[in-house]
Symmetry: C2
């Protein structure tokens, strides 16, 4: 139980609500009139694009964002909560929900979908000064070598036992590929690992470099099913410990080397470079360095695959997600991903967007999370449960409504003609690995 205590302590430090939660004694300040509440909230709902949402205040008053049909309800428990929500809804919704000062009687999915859809249907704002300032603010949590270690530790080192409760049995914490929509999560994660290997056309005896390997599922899968050797980098201590144990257990320690180090230290030649779900943590200010690392390692006939959450256009990370879930994270626009490859004359061969597969993956994760919510509450606390429920729900809804994308990009050196002639081999069922 020592592990759990330290995990809980660590979380308490990380998710400390001091900054966000106002002192309740503020309520004794001169009370603004009910008309002011109403006016502020009406303006805020208009700014959000008039979502089909009814806000129920602490005194029973109700204010609706739209008159249309059945609205999703949001209960605000006190006036300071309302004021904060009006001031910065995207940040304080998370803070106040986590603290139990907002309630969502119809469920988060309904409420978030209503809000996201209404917000998207407004005219998209240009890359305004405000956005740029927000992006600059984001840069505060820089992903330098030490910054990255701190940022990754925040999320991935809160205890493998927690992740085991709701991920698939191989602990794949990235978008699955439901080749058939009826697949289970377990099947879809295996299908994803195989989809990646087929896109890379891995051949027995080749050497793969993996940047950001999670708990090691892809590296082990590639070695076991494609006969390659793998050097896999990760700076999450708990993940590396687990991955090494798995390699041992599966008898793959000779062929898969898990290195507790930053991808920036990679330097040896490889036939394939692969990175699944790490780019989100790199940050655009380090994309040049990532491109240079790939260029340093990839052999002349090598191939690469980057799998990352993305956006349709550059925009800031959700401030709440950046604060409470993924410090330093940024989901790039496709344009920004492509810019990683440009300086080294890499050629983009294939891009696939698996947005709806991530929505489905998250639905599975969320269901399993809710099944274990009692255990999780005991491992951490109620606040942790609410933060994670909101993070998983919000991500699911963002992928479902088109706010987030999932891009897989395959690339090769610009002068490499040993590239697949068509993509048909990825989808053929003859068991052959697509030829490069």
């Amino acid at each position: 139980m020592d592990t759990n205590v330290s995990t809980r302590e660590r979380f308490a430090r990380i998710a400390s609500p001091q900054e966000a939660e106002p002192s309740r004694t503020n309520d004794s300040a001169p009370a603004p009139s009910g008309r002011l509440d109403h006016w502020l909230l009406t303006r805020a709902l208009a700014a959000l694009g008039h979502p089909p949402l009814t806000v129920v205040l602490w005194d029973g008053r109700e204010i609706s964002g739209s008159a249309s049909g059945r609205n999703s309800r949001l209960v605000v428990r006190d006036r300071p909560a309302l004021w904060r929500l009006v001031w910065d809804p995207w940040f304080y919704f998370g803070e106040l929900y986590a603290a139990g000062r907002l309630e969502v009687p119809d469920g988060l999915e309904d409420l978030l979908t209503a809000t996201y859809v209404a917000h998207q249907q407004r005219q998209p704002t240009s890359n305004s000064l405000v956005r740029r300032v927000l992006r600059r603010a984001r840069r505060a949590r820089r992903n330098s070598l030490s910054g990255s270690r701190r940022n990754i530790h925040h999320h991935y080192d809160i205890g493998n036992d927690f992740y085991k409760l709701w991920l698939d049995e191989q602990l794949v914490y990235t978008c699955a590929y439901f080749a058939d929509p009826a697949m289970t999560l377990e099947e879809a994660q295996v299908a994803k690992l195989d989809h990646v290997c087929r896109k890379l056309g891995l051949q027995r005896g080749q050497h793969v470099l993996e940047a950001g390997c999670g708990w090691g599922a892809l590296a082990l899968f590639m070695a076991r099913h494609y006969g390659v050797t793998v050097k896999a980098f990760n700076i999450s201590h708990e993940q590396i410990v687990h991955a090494r144990q798995e390699a041992q257990r599966q008898g793959l320690s000779e062929r898969v080397q898990f290195v507790e180090a930053d991808w920036r230290t990679a330097g040896e030649p490889c036939d394939a470079f692969v990175s699944v779900g790490m780019l989100e943590h790199v940050g655009p200010e380090n994309y040049r360095e990532l491109g240079a690392a790939i260029d340093r390692c990839l052999k002349p006939a090598g191939r690469g695959l980057i799998h990352s959450i993305g956006q349709n256009r550059p925009g800031p990370t959700s401030s709440w997600i950046e604060r409470r879930i993924f410090p330093g994270a940024y989901p790039p626009a496709l344009r920004e991903m492509v810019e990683i490859l440009e300086p080294h004359d890499f050629s983009v061969l294939d891009v696939e967007n698996l947005r709806l597969h991530y929505a489905q993956t998250l639905r599975h994760w969320l269901e399993r999370f809710e099944q274990h919510v009692g255990t999780i509450g005991q491992m951490f606390d109620e606040r942790f449960v609410r933060i994670w429920r909101l993070y998983l729900s919000g991500s699911m809804v963002a992928f479902q409504t088109g706010g987030l994308q999932l891009f897989q990009i395959v690339f090769a050196r610009g002068d490499n003609n040993r590239i697949p002639w068509t993509r048909a081999g990825i989808y053929s069922s003859d068991g052959e690995v697509p030829a490069w």
Copy 2:
């Protein structure tokens, strides 16, 4: 024969060599020493990356770019030609070859491959001041409504009879798709038209808007095989005349409307927007307008496909190609293509790079062109033959060596969830159109 005369006159105006060809009387200027020729040429070859190339001068002297093995030979017929070549090899090679002042005894493919490969293997230059100045210079031939008409007229209105000599029977003047590498050009062009329709998931009764329709092959194919109606835009008069005749002949005039107008005038709602081989003529300064036109027309559940020659990173069009072949043309980097879609929250679903298919397409075109070189010489003149031989050879080699790419991008509106679940349907042989 009136047509041929006017075609020849038009070409004479277009490809007038006055500007480029120096007066031979310049040769009477004080002759520089043979050592100066040697020094200049050695520097030029070094700047090109030491290609395996031997330059044979008018007096029999030989200077090699590299000592390695079998070099490709380039014969320079006079000293002013050499000086021009040294000054700006990428532009004057074309000018001097067209004028017969350079000869290539081992064939253009060998020579160009040697040069392109050596040039690519140099360290890629950054987006330097020189590049930016060149790009600015390019902007001189702007693709405004009237500029586009002039630029398109230059290339596409030189006579359908000429194109019939060396294109496939449907006159498809864009990259084919050799689903099987053994396909004939005719088969591969049909496969390309079908590949595009499958990616778009066209369903009977839908309405398609095509921007830049060439001689109408895709529009007619979509109507015939997928039961859609099409409105196709083109500003090349000769192409539109041919396309309308074909629609009539095939009994498709009711379902395919060929409009002699710029895509910028498009405004009606469509289920699919498609543009194959037009973006190269739009120019980055008009990408915003193109994005806006798509946004204006595409229905909420619509899908789009843009097929274009591209580059691995932004860089200027070959100055010779821009002058003699495609005024106003620019092959965008993938990043620039994606930027067309960003402001309107379109979501990129799929990108495929068919570079090597274009090399193969061009090999077919070039072979047919050479088979009809006598006829073409009579239709135009020897200079025309040499210009077109170089253009087709140079393009083939550029695709073969990785200097040019061919991107097909499929996109939909960001909030559209009626998108294909996977891409497997594009490759299935059950005859079903992939479901959107």
